[in-house]
Point group: D2
Chain length 431, copies 4
């Protein structure tokens, strides 16, 4: 078939189709410079192959959009229904998660063909059914879902490259400009009733179901730090015996430290005990920069640090209240550093880097908001069924696509997880 | 030595000395009829040998009371400082928990001698220093601590005897009187500000530190069930495919079900799939009685049941509010059944068996109350360091010593734990 | 570029250079039709990625040939010294075996470039130093080493593809011609002194060190079966409860059966218990053909079958004696079936398929022959250090390159290993 | 009750009845001074509780003797048939081995009552049926079986007490008389045909089935060391980096060393790296005596030492040939040391301590002798089914009852086993 040349009067694509194309394209750009091998391997059960991510987000559109909205729907490949289902029991069986990396066929090329075909078909639907609110809602959910996987592609890739003794880099070196140290200041909040959860006025139209229902929470007065804890702070904690002092740790956390004889965060290493610490990044191996927000902490580490500092983690409600009205002005994945960056002084005295750079562990377990109800059917499996033994992180990171996160956004991971760009910001009570 | 006959004018023992003697004696009575072998073995890492329990609670008094208050203190045996320390890092090293059952020396007889000597010495202190508030406070803490271990002795013993294919009984058979079924009714609460935490007026002088600080929580209107879920209810859940329907479970819970191919609670068994279910108790093997509150559920099971029933677990704040002013009128360990018992109709329509019979899982993760601060030093390791990935249970059980529990009492276990007498009571929102 | 036509006067390549080129080329031909992904993944710790095999055999030539014989030697990439060392402690550290599949860089393309460069450099040495016996010896060892890895590439690939629920095929379907059943006959041997081990007259110049020193063994009279046990025989064993009858198994073997609830050999499967068994091959999924020699047995299975059949496994000495003078006439990897094939009637009554088709488990633990001494240095790590808890297999398989095996050839695997093409042939005592 | 004085005319007990009483009594004497707790606990899956040993050997007599020979046989307790069956599949199911220590009921007292009743009943049979050869044969087997368990009781107890940080002693301290060092001499043997296996003339009437059939083996000339390797030798090996030099070890052995970071044999310890090594014994903690035969080696350690010493382990055939005619003159369990003892100079230049003190690892895998056939039925499960991946040890130890071992006796353990009193003696080829 010969495509028709684009007419000068060609109608503009609908905005959702444009957004769809942009997000889908961004996923593929992430594998620029990576080999099929890089995209195939799963470095641990918590991680997935990049090829799987690329296929799974496509499966999401095929299953939840095309199968429902496309007349005469036929799947690209029936086998993909099982292979690329992550955890949707309602849809059917799943290939076991720890074995995702063992499936070499379909190969990357075929997964990219799968993407192309689904892109084409969803794109047509979006052009044809611009008024279909149900379609738009599911496509929008799929795009935010895909952005979450874009972040996971980066963190899973980092963990994979770390397995390689050659410490290969994914991206080119970022401009590490010297930055003046930022003293930590405490920013006070009065407490009282706070509105919590997604607010379409403030946060835009879309939110995940776990960001609502919006409700009120009564807060005591508190103070929150003006900046995240940085690598220099962390070295002080380590120098003070932080990893050896049981009294600083949750019991489960100290067991975790001892079980693996941990003495530094994930991705830190040094040649010998007399050498300085270095850290592995997606730009390869680099020295520790003290003014950079610290990343790759477990909740246990964040919690122990806060206790050592005579402070505590903020609750997610305190965090959200502090972030109200703060611009989304940190460093996101589009910066290309894929590592937190130090930031300059905020002239107005407001909190810095609440958004971007590093996710911030909070003191809040990941629970349903009052009267939360998951959606019916498979889509309802998105968030609710994980509300057990995980902790909320807020604010996004240097691996998060720009525009993905908002003040009400709730990320969540188990207390031992370290492979996300997870750091912390201190809070404290006011007497 | 011939003891002098008690003189008619002998002074009455101080009340705390009497309480001390009573609680200490109760621990020893629990091993009546058990062999040294029964007291030696540890059936799983979560459990401890009964001998270890008897020694550890004694170590608590020796370490925190005698060492501090007794002039010229000398330990009974210096080796016990490590052997019988549970988890107090501040006191020094601990013998590894999973290896407690491997320590055959000291034997039971020597542990009982240890108890006797410490009892004698603490008893003397209590007679001599009746005005010492610090002493009284630590002894009181030690007694409540010992009562907690009395309950664990029963649940650990039950788990041990269950390992024995002969299914031996610990106690004699209880009077299983037929009881009329109790229909489940919903009891409404208006919500609003609720006082939460230990209230010396209401709950008596003593509380663990995790029951405070007392503070206000704002509740939405809710309803709570008039009775716990019972075995008959559970059979209906099982008959309805409860253990096979993924949509009823937390993701982590369904993984837990599948990993061990679970199809019934702990201690249930049947000869074949065509036989009726039976259950193992501390009275040996018995048939399932449908009107008895169900026990030995994990949090996962309790949560899945509530979802199946179209309800939810109460929060610990709702539970405490519902229990305000309710008499402590369930079945406790002194009943000798060591199994929940069905209860008759409450004439006044109030909630039944909130206290005793079975601990009730709540929807609340075990967290610090606002401004909670652990005590300084080793005593501060009692509660705070476990505030991670555990869930609150309320109300006490058939294995709890009478008088130990109050409305503000917070028990806590990981979501997968089943070996406590843990059941549930439903709650629901009011529209 | 147009290659120049070979001049009529071009000198002939030395025979070893020709052999070198042929064996090296055969390794690369094995990945025809495979993707980089297929060559990257390691399906279990016992297996290695195909990319790793291709690199490791090249590392062998680089380390043991080029580094020693090439003037001004410089390695292709210093990192490869560790990455592609299998187990030669004397050479230096090794990348941990279970993590071989996690190394995505170098990718396949770079490994092929590594091969090309080493091929070029070794090829030049072979042309320049045709008289260097030490060089020739090491290159010859390297070629036999590479042939061993060619077989492992096929068996590791089969195990990998088996992980894929789509059951993909590696090769095209083989001609499954109907073959008349071969009745099992017993072929007698008189016993007496037998010469065991490599005999340059009989077996050709090359042998691995574990095939010597040649020595005498005194054998009792015995009989050996005319053909290997086939799939039809195995079905009879299964139908007779073979996998459920403890008395047929070594204790360790029956534990192995029960631990994984085994009821058939590796790669067997069926839709349901009422469906016929099928088997996965490198040609994809096929029905069971009863006349084909059975493969993928553990030693435990082979041993249990022999006991069930009222016979026993031959010792490796009996096997070698029976194979003396028998032509190497089975099906090898060059046949392209990569699966054992049934064979027709041997007109002369001699034993069939001693060579090729399936390796045959023997009753002999893998031990040093009397006065065996490993070579000094790293080369000495080739065989001797594995002489513990492994069992000897003889004869080669459908995955073995033709010409690689001889009557004195000793293969060895642990008793539980199934992923080789391992079958058995019965033997028995003569009264 | 006053027992009646033995009448002068009382008939003498038959010799087998006397032997039966003596062996049975010896088992019970082993627990003198031990508590029920000491007899209850299982320290690892390879070990069993002493109580279990006492019951299992009794079960053997009840099952294989009483059930067959006693008219109107009724079991002491039907539950014991499963509880105390070790591994006899033909008899019926077994309680899982790793859970033996979890069975607290029957307690020790009841097991002793079981012993007493079975002793009484077997004793009566032996008096009544003195001519019954089949009875005599099974009782004799049962007695040798019981003696094997007597040795296991000591080694399992040692492993249990080692778990206790107090390092308790089982027996009183032995007379550690200073002994002059014994230089190692080499004793030559000519080789040629050797008769191997049980020889009723030489070894007495009884042997286990695995000691036959007697057959000829052709040996090359060899030399064997005049004494076992001792602790002093072992220190020299350690000082020479023995545990760090890969080239000395089997590959599987070096993996074993590294997996647990081993640097000394089992039961060795030292306060710090600057302190001298000490060792735990059944007499408690003692310093290393250099002239004592070394014990508690794995096969891996014995094999590595021999390679370091430029020698090798003897085959079991060489060992048996060297032991032919040597008196059973080492230190056995009746010595009460339960630890190897140094021995003085042998005036006649013959090999010392071939018997007693330490079992000696040989270079021989544990295999059936030619034409070996296990007995039919359950008794046939005694030895044959363990002939896989174990190695033969010869000569008995300081924990073996005197009279139990002979030159043809074959003990066997897996290569990693250390908890037996296992040492080694060097051998070498003669050029």
């Amino acid at each position: 078939m010969t495509p028709e040349p684009a007419s000068a009067t060609e109608p503009t694509a609908p905005p959702l189709a444009t957004a769809f194309a942009a997000v889908r394209c961004a996923s593929c750009r992430l594998i620029d410079g990576l080999s099929p091998e890089d995209c195939q391997v799963q470095s641990m059960p918590d991680a997935s192959p990049l090829k799987w991510h690329l296929a799974h987000v496509t499966w999401f559109f095929e299953t939840f959009v095309l199968e429902r909205f496309e007349p005469g729907f036929r799947p690209f490949d029936t086998a993909f229904r099982v292979l690329f289902n992550s955890y949707y029991q309602t849809v059917g069986p799943q290939h076991p998660r720890p074995s995702r990396g063992l499936v070499t066929r379909p190969d990357l090329a075929r997964v990219l063909a799968y993407r192309a075909q689904v892109d084409e078909r969803v794109g047509q639907l979006l052009v044809q059914r611009t008024d279909d609110a149900a379609l738009a809602e599911l496509v929008t959910l799929g795009l935010h879902h895909e952005q979450q996987h874009q972040e996971l592609m980066l963190t899973d890739l980092k963990h994979l490259l770390w397995q390689n003794p050659l410490r290969p880099a994914y991206a080119r070196r970022w401009p590490l400009a010297p930055v003046a140290p930022q003293p930590l200041r405490w920013i006070g909040h009065d407490g009282g009733w706070a509105g919590i959860g997604h607010d379409a006025q403030r946060d835009g139209a879309f939110a995940f179901d776990n960001e609502g229902p919006r409700h009120r929470v009564h807060l005591a007065p508190f103070e929150i730090a003006s900046r995240p804890v940085n690598y220099g702070d962390w070295l002080a904690f380590m120098d003070d015996g932080g990893y050896r002092r049981a009294e600083l740790w949750l019991a489960m956390g100290f067991d975790w430290v001892r079980a693996a004889q941990r003495e530094a965060p994930l991705y830190w290493w040094r040649e010998s005990t007399s050498d300085p610490w270095r850290t592995f990044t997606l730009q390869g191996d680099v020295p520790i920069d003290p003014h950079t927000p610290i990343a790759h902490l477990s909740f246990f580490e964040a919690d122990a640090y806060a206790r050592w500092a005579g402070a505590r983690l903020p609750t997610e409600f305190e965090w959200e209240t502090a972030a109200r009205g703060v611009p989304l002005a940190g460093h996101w994945a589009d910066r290309g550093a894929f590592h937190p960056l130090p930031s300059g002084h905020a002239s107005d005295g407001s909190a810095q880097q609440l958004f971007g750079d590093v996710w911030e562990w909070t003191a809040s377990p990941y629970l349903a908001y009052p009267r939360y109800k998951p959606a019916p059917g498979a889509i309802g499996e998105y968030n609710g069924k994980f509300m057990c033994d995980q902790w909320v992180l807020r604010g996004g990171s240097c691996a998060t696509p720009p525009g993905h996160v908002r003040a009400s956004y709730r990320n969540f991971f188990p207390a031992a997880a370290q492979w996300q760009f997870s750091g912390l910001r201190l809070a404290r009570d006011v007497d």
